[in-house]
């Protein structure tokens, strides 16, 4: 089997054993990228030489006997929202075109330290705002399952790169579903860790109280290995949790759900859900029951208000977070003809540098925070957030994990929802509650919808800091389904 079809765990083991070099592995992936990128367009930035240099440096470290982690030498693609000091970092926006950070994000730095090799920076919806990656200021990315369809978003470049075998691993960020939804619609694994479990330092902020870095991989164990490599307390991020957490890698290696209590969220099914999605989801629930879990229905009535609360909280925070893009210290500057004021240049630059979705959310957030509206909108949304957290807590008193479809539908067509923001926002219906409550949630493939033969994701939600439960249940589902399918779901994908 060619190197690009191997799992990250396998590649790590082969490199550690000296069966293959990190440089050879990187080269194989760079070759694959050269072959399929014209179709998929998952990347915004690739620099073959820099990547190979990194790989050779890791080979040298290993030869020198340095003790690196299990992923040493394995390539990874970073969502272009993590600062990388040797590569441009744009957040998918024209306003940051060409910007090279003088520093590394904690996620980037930790993975470098662990010996992972950066393949490039992946495409995303501008500033992570979107569910299709069509809001990238550079180009859309295509779903490897069907090039006319979206790869999900906002981390669509990262999901497409892994699904297209361009990278065994990638990083993403999940603010309202931006890892889980792309993973679901491209048939791979994507995990939103507990908020605060992985550092936001160097991650270009969209909504600070929601943004969470997380892993993409083609299987549950690889995702766990990647998460373990970059998570943990970071003194540079005040919201980072300094507490011991159960090992996610061990959980991924222990796919046993017997005796576990699984809650089915009543509100996440029915009208508005694609029948093929619901069919696969119900089968997955039955499968869990057959594996020895107890399944109960749980009602969380306020989850239906999570979407409106999210579309107040996230834009409010973004309106403030994106104020720094003002043409003064870095990035684009437009209209500075020597006569215009700083204020005018700021407004012209921001009008030219931000895309429509970003402008929409900045204005919505500015509105929600304005005096006179604050209590009715932002203040009320923060209260809804408390109510949702309480419903989660009540549910977790009855069950160990909650499950739902990751998305109401499979991947939609490019252009299908671009003129209808509200329709686009619905893609995150099931994923948003976990962001508001900060708890852990994973999406694992659970089959193809009958209507369109496109992947469906099962979402598994667990309490704060119980990320291990997501991996344990996810691994159990993966093991059972792969034995039924005779291999990973991705082998059903058309070749590119």
């Amino acid at each position: 089997m060619s190197l690009i079809r191997k799992t990250a765990a396998e590649l790590g083991a082969m490199i550690a054993a000296g069966d293959v070099s990190a440089a050879e592995v990187a080269e194989a992936h760079l070759d694959r990228m050269a072959e399929v990128e014209p179709k998929v367009q998952a990347f915004l930035h690739v620099d073959r030489e820099t990547t190979l240099e990194q790989a050779r440096a890791v080979d040298a470290r290993l030869r020198a006997g340095e003790k690196l982690g299990p992923l040493a030498g394995v390539p990874v693609a970073h969502k272009d929202i993590f600062a990388t000091r040797d590569m441009p970092t744009t957040a998918g926006s024209k306003i940051l075109e060409g910007w090279r950070p003088p520093y590394d994000a904690t996620v980037t730095a930790r993975l470098r330290e662990a010996g992972l090799v950066i393949l490039g920076k992946t495409n995303l919806d501008e500033f992570a705002m979107g569910s299709s990656t069509e809001n990238s200021a550079y180009h859309p990315t295509r779903n490897p399952w069907d090039l006319d369809r979206i790869p999900g978003g906002s981390s669509g470049g990262s999901s497409a790169a892994v699904a297209a075998y361009e990278a065994p691993l990638s990083t993403g960020t999940d603010t309202g579903g931006s890892i889980r939804q792309p993973a679901a619609v491209t048939g791979i694994v994507g995990m939103k860790p507990t908020y605060g479990g992985s550092s936001r330092y160097g991650l270009i902020a969209f909504a600070s109280s929601l943004d969470t870095p997380g892993p993409f991989a083609r299987n549950v164990l690889d995702a766990a290995l990647l998460q373990e490599a970059f998570s943990g307390h970071d003194p540079m991020d005040s919201t980072s949790v300094d507490a011991p957490v159960p090992s996610v890698v061990e959980a991924a290696r222990n796919p046993d759900v017997s005796g576990m209590r699984i809650g089915v969220v009543k509100e996440f099914a029915g009208e508005g859900y694609q029948p093929g999605v619901l069919a696969r989801y119900h089968e997955a629930v039955k499968l869990l029951e057959s594996l020895g879990a107890t399944v109960v229905e749980v009602s969380c009535p306020s989850f239906t208000t999570a979407l409106p609360a999210y579309y107040l909280i996230a834009p409010s925070e973004c309106s403030s977070n994106l104020a720094r893009f003002d043409a003064m210290r870095y990035g684009l500057r437009v209209g500075d003809d020597g006569t215009r004021s700083a204020e005018e240049v700021m407004a012209l630059t921001r009008a030219a540098g931000f895309g429509p979705e970003v402008k929409r959310r900045i204005m919505l957030g500015t509105y929600a925070l304005s005096s006179g509206y604050y209590d009715a909108y932002y203040g009320q949304a923060q209260k809804v957030r408390t109510v949702i957290s309480r419903e989660f807590q009540a549910a977790y008193e009855q069950v160990d994990v909650l499950v739902s479809p990751t998305t109401p539908t499979t991947a939609f067509r490019l252009g299908e929802r671009t003129d209808d923001p509200m329709a686009m926002y619905l893609a995150d219906l099931c994923t948003i509650p976990s962001n508001l409550a900060g708890n852990a949630a994973i999406s694992v493939p659970c089959g193809l919808a009958d209507e369109d033969n496109l992947p469906v994701g099962l979402q598994i939600m667990a309490p704060v800091l119980a990320d291990d439960r997501c991996y344990r249940v996810g691994a159990a589902v993966e093991k059972a389904l792969e034995s039924r399918w005779g291999g990973p779901l991705l082998k059903e994908a058309p070749s590119l």
Binding site: A91, Y201, S238, S316, A323
Partner: protein
């Protein structure tokens, strides 16, 4: 247009409000590890966080929190059991994030007071809140005729100051100060400055901007019960300016009100050169800062036990100390005021601690040294002489080794960098002539040269001895002990007093 002060006060009553910003003297900035040194080369004390590079995050400085709580305690405030930082959103090029991390409705300290003495009376200034925020960068305006912001072609920005911890102390409205309003304002800021110094939390140098003051003034007609519209005057950067800004704003507002005009709630700027204020902002739109809790930081929950410990460990506060020193030194209110104005308490106290009598310590610092400091245009504390050296000089005078005139010469030598008092005495040969033989020889010369005067004394006109003593002092170049010389002269001339 403006009305003279006395007339303004005949017709109107002022209500004051003061917002004071104190830059804390922490080693590192409020939310990052950059240095806080004043005057460093441009943009050498900046990092991703204080430049607001994409992806950077703030982490609060523990010492800044502690200092703010200590300030609150010194101002008799309650300390919040739980509070948060908030973002204050507005665009401005010297503020890298285009929001300032500040505190909104949940300040760290609230409801305190500070007593100040004005004209022999104690005035209680109530403190509404003490909160923590971050400073901005510094713009230099280029081109244009004035170097000011208006008419400039462009600006250049140094972010070294951006992110330095800034404590904002806000008073409640201060009514009832009447004619003393300018003095009360000045006394309050002076007192704050001394409290900050005694706490050691800031160097509070107004000229370097580490203490800045905004002055709110409103007027109401005498007898009215409703306060007038206030203005906020910024850029008040010296103690004297605080006084002048209040006075000027009272005169200006009175002039407008007297003519039936209206005061607009606005920001005004104080100009040191003219002593007047001008309108700072002509925006028709009210500012909407869209405050919301800072999501990049977590709430502060000071441990009550720790707060109690901080309170117990507060240093002696300036007002308490002044009372103690006055009692110990036995000096008048007037002398205390003079020392206060000259910033001489520390110096005098240290000199006394080094062994000098309080009266002597005060005499030297407030006399000869104050004169020399004034001549060189420096503060007393900046003179190149130590309290221990002054104490040594007073010791030499007390032992009779120096007289006052010689002592002044010794001080001159020390200030000129010639060494310690003892070294200067040695090098300049300034010891009083105690050798009786040498003194006797000098007296003989003087008597011989002034035979007339000697004769007068001999004949009983003892008053004429003064001229002879003067002659001896002159001949000894001041080094003779004048009292002993007089005794010897009378003895030699065979008369007694």
């Amino acid at each position: 247009m403006t009305m003279v002060y006395d007339e303004a006060l005949d017709r109107f009553e002022p209500v004051l409000g003061l917002e004071t910003h104190v830059e804390l003297g922490t080693k590192s900035k409020m939310f990052c590890g950059c240095k806080t040194a004043f005057g460093a080369p441009a943009n050498t004390q900046v990092c991703p966080t204080c430049l607001a590079l994409p992806g950077s995050l703030p982490v609060a400085n523990a010492m800044a929190i502690e200092s703010t709580i200590r300030i609150g305690l010194a101002l008799n405030c309650s300390i919040a059991e739980w509070c948060r930082f908030a973002r204050k959103n507005y665009f401005y090029p010297d503020m890298p994030k285009n929001y300032q991390i500040s505190q909104y409705d949940e300040p760290l300290c609230f409801d305190g007071y500070v007593d100040v003495e004005v004209g022999g009376e104690t005035v209680r200034i109530e403190i509404e809140r003490v909160h923590l925020e971050e400073d901005t960068g510094k713009s230099t305006h280029m081109g244009g005729a004035t170097g000011r912001i208006h008419g400039a072609d462009y600006s250049i920005v140094d972010y070294n100051r951006a992110g330095i911890p800034l404590v904002e102390i806000v008073t409640k409205p201060i009514p009832g100060t009447d004619r003393l309003a300018p003095e009360v304002a000045k006394a309050y800021v002076t007192e704050l400055r001394e409290i900050m110094r005694s706490l050691g939390v800031s160097d509070v140098r107004m000229e370097e901007g580490s203490l800045r003051c905004d002055v709110n003034v409103s007027l109401m007609p005498r007898g009215a019960s409703e306060w007038g519209t206030r203005t906020e005057t910024k850029n008040v950067n010296s103690l004297r300016s605080v006084e002048r800004a209040v006075r000027s704003e009272i005169e200006r507002q009175a002039g407008i009100l007297a003519e039936g005009g209206k005061i607009f709630q606005e920001t005004r700027h104080f100009h040191e050169d003219t002593g007047t204020t001008t309108s700072g902002r002509s925006k028709e739109e009210a500012q909407d800062y869209r405050y919301f809790p800072e999501p990049d930081l977590v709430p502060i929950e000071p441990d009550p036990v720790w707060v109690a410990e901080l309170k117990a460990a507060l240093p002696e506060l300036p007002s308490v100390r002044r009372k103690r020193l006055q009692a110990e030194w036995g000096v008048s209110d007037l002398d205390m005021q003079a020392m206060h104005n000259a910033d001489a308490f520390d110096l005098v106290e240290a000199t006394v601690a080094a062994g000098a009598p309080a009266a002597d310590a005060r005499k030297w610092w407030m006399g000869e040294l104050a004169r020399r400091a004034n001549e060189s245009g420096v503060a007393l504390a900046e003179l190149p002489i130590t309290p221990a050296q002054i104490a040594r000089v007073t010791e030499l005078v007390a032992s009779g080794a120096l007289n006052d005139k010689l002592a002044r010469e010794v001080l001159e030598g020390v200030l000129a960098g010639e060494g310690t008092p003892d070294e200067v005495v040695e090098a300049r040969g300034l010891k009083i002539v105690n050798d009786e033989g040498e003194l006797s020889a000098i007296i003989d010369q003087v008597l011989a040269a002034n035979a007339d005067a000697a004769e007068k004394v001999r004949s009983g006109k003892i008053a004429a001895a003064g001229a002879l003593v003067g002659g001896v002092m002159k001949a000894s170049r001041g080094k003779a002990d004048a009292a002993r010389a007089r005794e010897l002269i009378l003895e030699k001339l065979g008369v007694s007093e």
